[in-house]
């Protein structure tokens, strides 16, 4: 009888744990605040370990990652060389360039965020584990950072604040695909929804009315529609490819992000909340 009782106890323990995990998943899906508070406290508690590791292993991990990322480094180097050549070519047209720049700014349309204040932060850590594109910043609630605030670099949107500790916050990168952003295509009436696909610097745009004409190269910025988690006019990227689906009456686009989410050193948290 004893082994059977033991087996029954084992089974009930495991079932109880499975149910607990499912309950936690459900609570997480409903956005229960206590879970975020707990995460924030743990993030703050373990951040010194990350700081120490960064201080101790920084040079070594840089060399290590470069060694295992050689192909990617070569591709990025090629891209930079091409970009450099293109920019050198543009320098010969200096007088025209100034005018073109002004036109481009007018085309993009808008002062980048206007007078909305930002908090300048330093990136202190990358993703923990293997899922969920995140970075950790060295500012938190004490600097006015609140959950859900947009995070940008000089080039545009990179993510939003997910967890806030007293002096730290964790940012969910848009490339991870765990949240969506409403966007508009500059120069058109097209609106859509952008989300990450797990690839660096590439987003997928969906839900664009098929009647709208969208072409490659057009600039995409946050829509900031009512109820949006983001203010309007934060640059996101440019349209890389366009595909229409007649069946679902929508146009799908691939968006090449302006901002890089790799090797980030600094980022700004936009002190903006929906309705605020």
């Amino acid at each position: 009888m004893a082994p059977r009782r033991s087996t029954g106890r084992s089974r009930s323990t495991v079932i109880l744990l499975v149910l607990t995990a499912i309950t936690l998943l459900t609570l997480s899906g409903r956005g229960v605040g206590a879970l975020d508070s707990t995460r924030a406290a743990v993030t703050s508690a373990v951040s010194p370990i990350g700081d120490a590791a960064r201080w101790l292993f920084g040079p070594f991990s840089g060399a290590w990652n470069a060694a295992f990322d050689h192909g990617d480094l070569a591709r990025r180097n090629d891209a930079l060389v091409q970009e450099n050549e293109r920019l050198l070519g543009q320098l010969t047209q200096a007088s025209i360039s100034t005018q073109q720049l002004q036109e481009l700014l007018n085309l993009v349309g808008i002062p980048f965020l206007g007078n909305t204040p930002v908090v300048h932060t330093r990136v202190v850590s990358g993703t923990i584990g293997n899922f969920g594109d995140t970075i950790e910043l060295d500012k938190g609630a004490s600097a006015g950072v609140v959950k859900g605030m947009p995070v940008i670099t000089g080039q545009g949107l990179i993510g939003k604040v997910k967890v806030v500790g007293e002096d730290r916050c964790t940012v969910e990168l848009i490339t991870g695909g765990s949240f969506r952003v409403g966007f508009i295509v500059i120069g058109t009436s097209a609106v859509g929804i952008a989300e990450g696909v797990g690839r660096p610097s590439i987003l997928r745009g969906t839900n664009i009315d098929v009647a709208q004409t969208v072409t490659e190269g057009q600039v995409v910025v946050t829509a900031g529609l009512r109820g949006s988690s983001f203010p309007p006019n934060i640059p996101i990227g440019s349209v890389k490819s366009v595909r229409s689906e007649e069946a679902s009456r929508q146009t799908l686009v691939e968006i090449s992000m302006f901002a890089s989410t790799r090797d980030l050193t600094y980022a700004d948290v936009v002190l903006w909340t929906p309705g605020g």
Binding site: S10, T13, V14, L17, V18, T20, A21, I22, T23, L24, L25, T26, L27, S28, G29, L35, T38, R39, V42, T43, V46, I49, G50, A52, A53, R54, F57, F60, S61, W64, N65, F68, D69, S125, G126, T127, I128, G129, N130, F131, G132, D133, T134, K162, V163, T170, E172, T175, G176, G177, S178, E195, G196, V197, G198, R199
Partner: protein
């Protein structure tokens, strides 16, 4: 010091190792997973039930450190820990590589479970091309790290349940 406290000490060690070491040194963007190694090894050393329990708590700690849906790590690592115990129970051991293979399979299953369930509950970008790389690299690192971790788990569970003879071999 009883088994639970010792296992808790191992879990805290896993937090430090993950944050201090494994997250700093990645291969193709993939880091070894100390929590998964602990869950699977505990399952292999102490059986499926304890593997499930330790897996649950190891995954819960991971959930506190990342921004994926809360509870996903607990569920996935519970499965991995239990699977490690079940596989260890049915496999006939004749060589160390078979034990490592069990760790590889259980860890890979944990990663896949995490990604698939995460995707099913609406987290985008989890099931895509890079998942194969993540699965293989995490599975491989777990197979290697299981060997030193096994000693630690044996120490932690020394006064609790009888161990599997194969694990001692």
């Amino acid at each position: 010091m009883n088994t639970s406290i010792r296992l808790m000490a191992l879990l805290l060690t896993a937090v430090v190792l993950q944050r201090f070491l494994f997250d700093q040194f990645r291969v193709d963007g993939v880091a070894a997973d100390a929590f998964l190694v602990l869950a699977v090894t505990t399952g292999m050393v102490c059986g499926a039930r304890r593997g499930a329990i330790v897996g649950f708590f190891a995954g819960l700690v991971l959930d506190l450190l990342v921004v994926t849906p809360f509870g996903l790590g607990a569920l996935a690592y519970l499965v991995a820990g239990a699977l490690g115990g079940l596989l260890e129970g049915v496999v006939v051991h004749s060589a160390r590589w078979i034990t490592m293979l069990v760790a590889f399979v259980a860890s890979a299953a944990g990663v896949l479970f995490f990604a698939v369930v995460g995707s099913l509950i609406g987290t985008a970008g989890m099931v895509e091309g890079h998942l194969i790389t993540v699965t293989l690299l995490v599975g491989g690192s777990s197979a290697v790290l299981m060997l030193p971790t096994r000693r630690a788990v044996l120490w932690a569970s020394a006064d609790s349940e009888p161990f599997r003879a194969a694990v001692h071999s």
